[in-house]
Point group: C2
């Protein structure tokens, strides 16, 4: 089997941990597999480089920042390869350009465009394990980086290009849980989630895998496994879910939540003004990320629109919206802070009506107010008071995970959506 | 003018110093020059990387060591380019491979074989200052390093390839002195030395410039200047010396010295055995550097040979020589430690007989024993007791530098060699 293994910053955080990672790679090879390894920078070394750059310039040049940050992975890759060679396992470190990872010609957040695998193939065929620097590539002879979670993306892209049998993401948690175990003691590790579920869970705060990496894995059908580099426990598989595998699964896979949510409502936006387009374009151009958007028609001539932003962005966002009042002629802007978002996620929802209703009933029974609702095919999100978020997650975990563990799908299906 | 500037580790030892270097580069450009900059790694950052490698393996793999160490210069080059861009001076950092620096396919001590200057030329012509990582190159797609003093070599190689008008080596001393100012207060900075003089001075302990860089500068006729990055003082020019410029120069340019010298004498080596070749080949293959070698014929059938080694190598060297006694049939091995070497260096010696004699007279008058003598066209070296080395340097500095400052060449020429 050809295995791509990615080790995150914590997993290679010290020379001692690099030794353990080398041992794990050697064991994988001893079991008869071929390995391609992708590493992040050691622990907080990237932060140290960022601090240096800040001492040099308030807004460091993006090209130079990439060249600076890329050294972090080069250090960990060299040390890991050095350790493997020392242990008698042939290995070679490869930087982004050496591994043939071509990206868009942008800095700080480039996307991988193609991988020239000739050199990697040659190493693998010669029994030499390539240790590839994550997070980086090359464009027009310049070093580029892939942005946050970039090493996950590198690993998935390499697995896709090499047609690897599996891509193992080693991190400091041992898999994906039904919800945050710090909030719900009964949270349990999932043996399997779908790419889409993982995307919703990743976006909603289960920061185990970067969403872009999951998207790519889905697109190229790369089987992923998330597991811990500190134990030998089985991790969580992230896979495509077919109609067949869907049968017998729980309706809800996990409960995600997000704190620091604020709501902005724009009241009485005249319909003929294309006001919505203007408002959200303006917010985007100022770098304000908008999450849930809910619109309702007040009368034939105007709409009310509500949306959530990350709480620290609230004042800025309200300022931007208010600056548009004169041109858009809306009535007023309202704001509400101290909110949170709680979501149930599960591919099984598609074929199970009534899931949303069970969520509302659960929250009502727990006496938790719901300020906004948003749904997708595999997710229902409710905006609730920040103070109630942990109670909401616990109650929903009981309803959908703990109780459902014994419940049948047909039972869930009998509820009214 | 096209100026190559090389900044050593101390000169870029902190972000504050990098800011000062950026200012100096900007000033050079403001005076109408084009700049290509070569940087070493920040301060002791290379030592930190070496320490990491030692935690990974007793004998780190050479390829991975090069890849690891190369990050040091990449960090300083990125930060310096970042600073220049921040100051409004267009600049781009280039690693060894980006700058087109091809080397031999060996690790740890590669020689530059060629430089593909297209990218550098393009940047220079576009008004963008290239900031090149010193000490490193590329061979067969692998990162190589040039060994100790490698950044000097990079700078000279780039100056030669780009036909630069001058190569300025910025360091933490303000030039080359007639001798070590810590030993002789009257030591004065030289405005000019020849490549050959610089080579002898560099080899003999004035560690301002790496000998290989001086050799290359001589070979490609690159005009060098050694100066301080901490002041605006004029430095020392290292140039070719012609018959014309030789006239009017002092006979002796500088007094070099080296401590920790030990002497080994092999007595009664039979002539027919090719014993010398065996002895010195054996020492070389064990990594023992031999410096002064003196041989004298005892009778028609045997020779005595004496040579010096670095004192810490003495026991090892004696052991190697003694192990050859059975096969080479020499009489015995003698050893002497606690020695030092003092040398007078000057291109003017070639045309001035009697310089050696004046050296011996000076040492005799100072009551200093001379154990070995070795001469080249521009150097006379004497091995003396370690305890006497500072007195020897002072006395020779008086004779050849301080007194000669007023003396004429013809006067020196009248002495008998």
């Amino acid at each position: 089997m050809l295995v791509v293994q990615k080790y995150g910053g914590t997993s290679v955080g010290s020379t001692e941990r690099i030794r353990l990672v080398a041992q794990r790679i050697q064991n994988t090879i001893a079991r008869g597999h071929q390995c391609v390894v992708v590493v992040s920078a050691m622990g907080h070394s990237t932060d140290a480089l960022v601090d240096l750059a800040k001492e040099i310039a308030d807004v460091p040049d993006a090209r130079e920042m990439d060249s600076l940050l890329a050294t972090g992975e080069q250090v960990s890759a060299s040390l890991l390869a050095m350790r493997l060679v020392h242990m008698g396992t042939p290995a070679q470190s490869l930087t982004g350009w050496q591994a043939g990872i071509a990206t868009e010609d942008v800095h700080g957040n480039a996307r991988v465009t193609s991988i020239e695998t000739a050199r990697l193939r040659q190493l693998i065929d010669s029994g030499i394990t390539p240790i590839v620097t994550g997070f980086q590539g090359i464009a027009n002879g310049n070093i580029t980086t892939l942005g946050r979670g970039g090493s996950d993306t590198s690993a998935v892209a390499l697995a896709a290009a090499l047609h690897a049998d599996i891509c193992e993401i080693y991190t400091d948690v041992d898999g994906v849980y039904t919800t945050d175990p710090r909030v719900v003691q009964a949270a349990r590790k999932l043996t399997e989630v779908s790419y889409d579920e993982m995307l919703e869970l990743a976006n909603l705060g289960a920061q185990v895998l970067h969403p872009r990496a999951v998207e790519n894995a889905k697109h190229f059908a790369v089987p992923l496994v998330v597991r811990s580099s500190f134990s030998d426990e089985e991790g969580t598989s992230v896979v495509a879910i077919t109609e067949q595998t869907l049968e017998g699964r729980q309706v809800v896979t996990g409960i995600a939540f997000e704190r620091q949510v604020a709501r902005i409502a724009v009241i009485g936006v005249p319909l003929q003004q294309h006001g919505l387009a203007t408002i959200f374009s303006e917010l985007a151009s100022h770098g304000v990320n908008v999450d849930v958007i809910v619109q309702s028609v007040v009368d034939a001539a105007a709409v009310d629109v509500s949306f959530t932003v990350h709480e620290p962005d609230l004042t800025k966002a309200v300022g931007i919206v208010e600056s548009l009042q004169e041109s858009l002629h809306f009535t007023r802007v309202e704001r509400q802070s101290d909110l949170a978002k709680v979501s149930i996620v599960g591919a099984g929802m598609i074929s199970n009506p009534g899931v949303a209703a069970r969520m509302f009933v659960t929250l009502r029974d727990a006496n938790i107010a719901v300020h906004m609702v948003s749904t997708s095919e595999i997710k229902v999100s409710c905006v609730v008071p920040a103070d109630d978020v942990e109670r909401a997650v616990k109650a929903l975990h009981v309803t959908f995970v703990e109780a459902d563990a014994e419940a049948s799908l047909s039972e869930a299906g009998s509820a009214v959506k």
